[in-house]
Assembly symmetry: C2
Amino acid sequence: MTTQRLTRKGQATRDRIVAAAARLMIEQGVARTTIEDIQAAAGVSPSQLYHYFPGKDALVSAVIEQQTAQVLEIQHSGLGSLDSIDSLANWRDLMVGILTDVQCAGGCPLGSLASDLSESDPVARIQLAGAFAQWEGLIREGLVQMQERGELAADADPAELAVAMLAAVQGGLLLSQVRRDPAPLRIAVDTMIDHLHALTR
Amino acid sequence: MTTQRLTRKGQATRDRIVAAAARLMIEQGVARTTIEDIQAAAGVSPSQLYHYFPGKDALVSAVIEQQTAQVLEIQHSGLGSLDSIDSLANWRDLMVGILTDVQCAGGCPLGSLASDLSESDPVARIQLAGAFAQWEGLIREGLVQMQERGELAADADPAELAVAMLAAVQGGLLLSQVRRDPAPLRIAVDTMIDHLHALTR
DNA sequence: GAGATATTGGAGTATCAACTCCAAAATCGC
DNA sequence: GCGATTTTGGAGTTGATACTCCAATATCTC
């Protein structure tokens, strides 16, 4: 009902604010990102920002929502046709490529926010737990499909393997971020792919 | 030379400050931790804190140094006798136990600091990269020993496996922190142990 | 195109956080 | 014990930050 109270121009302004906030919060952390930074980056005045968001918390929530959608979208485009070891390799290349494009800066948007907010914002923590659950679900479904097609051993546990794969992605991204080198992500994911491959025999 | 200018009492005060700063910075993030918070937690006055540290940056550096030593110490006690798949299982239990003790709060001290500081403090990033390199080296050496004893396939690559294992630990800790559930860490590390086990055949 | 509503500009405020200063007290070497 | 040095107390300063307010303007609906 309140959704339609936004004009086209208003929606554009709101989007611009969220995009600027996301970039800054992920890049330098939520606490280090000031409202003034966001205003400058989005090119808006204080009254504009507070017209669309009651405060910083609401902005954080909007950023998490937007980043969740974006990450799941990318995952979907990479995992959409997950039906073989080869497609997993493509998926790895997709992530390594994105990471290389940004010179390994920022790590995983969701991972960074999770590490940043888990202990200081319980609401955000739960929101992020949901995001990871969706991501994990996407991976699990792919593995189940592989299993149904006989490309994965029948006694393998897709649920556990999905958790391990997501952990490899997150841990690999963190190590790559710290070292400014895409190798850790590539190695971590490759090792998990090898593991799946071994389970196929 | 300046090292001996610290009295026993002074050393105790300094240690108290670092311990308080470490707890707060890891728990709620560096930027959210104020000097005043640290003063209160350590029971010291502003002049005391600034007597031992020129500013917040120096305090961050001291915290990283202390946490690195502590994590490597724990790893050493768990990895010291790394000579079999069984000892890896004990190592996993050690980490899961520690995580459970703190109700999955905080994640990995080094991982939290790395995610927090990588983009905003280049000096800290390099310091943390060194810490992870040491940790990785510890794991790698264990795997090399296993390989020499024939408990790991000769064509396995201990260097890559060590990176993958560390990524599994970091990713598992992050997911466990977000979900407040030790299972992801356990599953991620177990999956890597399974992988090593498979490579033994 | 007129009126209701959404959007915007920009000055202002109260609070908080990092850091300073100087003098008093405790500690150490001899 | 005495002098040099380290350690401590606590008030104060400067700047930043989240958020407010109100009037002016643009945009939609009909």
